[in-house]
């Protein structure tokens, strides 16, 4: 299993980068995993699985110690922990994705009108209130430049689900803007 992931890594500087990430973030990752799983062994498993995902994407991490990388790691460890939670406790519900058929294509409104009517800080409020699964998908796409297939692998979901989460995130944004005074044509 390890060999499969590591066969994809062949840049010598990646080894140093990866070791630095391990040393710097492992306690933070464990704490994040513990906040979801409440079990040390499972939290360690989540950290290990997250490191495998990070190893697979190590070439895309330019700077190991920065807030962008830290946020990426938080996304990975949170979603890995949810996966393990679902696997270990199938009867306890972590909300599952809705059916993709209910999602409409969410085009964004004209931004100049939104600025004049509502203001940019409102977009931040909507994102902060958004379910993590939608925000994470949106972040992986818009901040880290991953495509749906890569997001699916990182989050342990299907490609369709990854696409659905991005559309859903935009749909939430659009709906909240509508509720707060922006009328769409």
């Amino acid at each position: 299993m390890l060999g499969f992931y590591l066969a994809l890594i062949d840049d010598p500087s990646d080894k140093e980068k990866f070791a630095e990430i391990c040393a710097h973030y492992k306690n933070m990752m464990h704490q994040k995993a513990m906040s979801i799983l409440h079990n040390t062994a499972l939290a360690e498993e989540a950290v290990q699985e997250s490191f495998l995902k990070i190893a697979k994407n190590i070439s895309k991490i330019s700077s190991p110690i920065c807030s962008k990388t830290a946020s990426f790691i938080v996304i990975i460890v949170r979603n890995t922990s949810y996966d393990i939670f679902r696997r270990e406790k199938p009867n306890d519900s972590v909300p599952l994705d809705e059916d993709i058929s209910v999602i409409s294509n969410a085009e964004m409104p004209d931004i100049d009108k939104v600025f004049s009517n509502i203001g940019i800080s409102f977009v931040l409020d909507i994102i902060n209130e958004m379910d993590n699964k939608y925000r994470d998908a949106l972040a992986l796409k818009h901040l880290y430049g991953y495509n749906s297939s890569e997001i699916a692998k990182l989050l342990g979901i299907t490609e369709k689900n990854a696409e659905m989460r991005i559309y859903r995130a935009k749909a939430i944004l659009k709906a909240r803007l509508e509720e707060n005074g922006y009328a769409f044509k």
Partner: protein, 79 residues
């Protein structure tokens, strides 16, 4: 004057990015507030060391190959 669809999308992309960065930074601040050092199990440390060691393996292999080739070339040049 209304924005073109492409310009509108690019601006939205920038706005979403900025809001996401801010949102992620807030979560990071909360997460990093009370980090307690954890004593990982020996199995975890073993697996992580194995993972780190293996990262450079393919590259080492690649570096070794040209040496072999140059030896072969020298051998061929001998009368």
């Amino acid at each position: 004057m209304p924005l073109s669809r492409g310009a509108n999308e690019r601006l939205w992309d920038a706005v979403i990015k900025e809001a996401l960065i801010e949102s992620m930074n807030r979560e990071l601040d909360e997460t990093e507030q009370n980090i307690e050092p954890h004593k990982f199990s020996s199995q975890f440390e073993h697996n992580m060391n194995k993972l780190i060691k293996n990262i450079g393996r393919k590259e080492k292999k690649r570096h070794r190959q040209p040496v072999k080739q140059s030896v072969n070339l020298r051998l061929q040049q001998r009368p």
